[in-house]
């Protein structure tokens, strides 16, 4: 038979464990510098490639279906927009990483 004291102590321990569990929140994976660098790199390069690719596709579509010679302007414009999107991506990634680090320091 457990005494009331034992049960009380058990209750306290369960409460303590639950409090610790609630505090944990964020998963403990620190963003390494290598990971951050790789992330920024891919975000920027991929956006530029996608922009340039879309521009190339637009030029092709105009030439093929509408018989309009837009080359190279579609690609030029979309390349610039792609670069802008890449910078936006990097800013977004930086914001996420900052938020993650800030929440860890707390």
């Amino acid at each position: 038979m457990p005494s009331p004291d034992d049960l009380k102590r058990l209750g306290e321990r369960i409460g303590e464990a639950e409090r610790q569990r609630a505090q944990r929140g964020k998963p403990p994976a620190p963003p390494t510098s290598l990971g951050i660098a790789a992330r920024f790199g891919t975000e920027l390069v991929v956006a530029i490639l996608v922009g340039a690719g879309l521009g190339w596709g637009i030029d092709w579509a105009f030439g093929h279906w509408l018989h309009l010679q837009t080359r190279p302007w579609g690609m030029v414009v979309m390349f610039v927009l792609g670069a802008a999107a890449g910078i936006r991506n990097v800013m977004g990634a930086a914001r996420e990483i900052n938020a993650e680090m800030a929440s860890k320091e707390k």
């Binding site: 929140g25 964020k26 490639l49 996608v50 927009l81």
Partner: protein, 253 residues
Amino acid sequence: MAMNPMEQFEVKPLFQHPLLNIAGHDIYFTNQALFMCVVVAAISLFLTLTVSKNRLVPTRGQSMAELSYEFVANMIHSTMGEDGLAFFPFIFTLFMFVLFCNFFGLVPWTFTVTSQIAVTFALACVVILTMIVTGFMKHGLRFLTLFVPKAPWYLALFLVPIEVISFLTRPISLSVRLFANMLAGHTLLAVFASFVILLGAAGGVLSVLSIAPLLLIVAIFALEMLVAFLQAYVFAILTCIYLNEALHLHDQH
């Protein structure tokens, strides 16, 4: 002796005869398909066997399974909030699949499924399609305001195409990141392994030097263990972030 560090990534059919023929295309059972089956079987066995006894005081295996469960649940909770837990099965499956593929690939003589852009891109497409379907189901056409930042109309004119491009880069950057990390790490290991063999075969002082790349392999292998976990984590958390945008459009939960 020809040593090609890229040889490990070759997809080869395991049987001479194609498994299926769909619309004139022969579908072969390849080493890639085999290792996907192995990974799925391993995950299923790991998760069912370790929790089948279901003890109050968990065994080592059970606590590993519980740890991975809680890890993903915490990740979803912190990025998407309470209603994100509806996606738990999806994200847990993705995370475990990528994690096990990455770790299985580190075992010598195995094939790294996640080093194939076709596989990672397919996974990323599933994520983005889930995001699009969720967004339209939850918000209807209002989901399209995801592409319209809060700005005066003359700026929005430029910002909308940028947002669209940035959205289109997501499946690509998501898949390229995982694929490139796996490809680079395994190539590096193979290159250093060939140094060991070349130096060892050279004879004399050079043979003694072959210990250096061998030690480096050990170090890189340790790094690859970290990368294998980290990339699975990054894949899962970015999935959470994207799905969160579809669930809660502009507002931060």
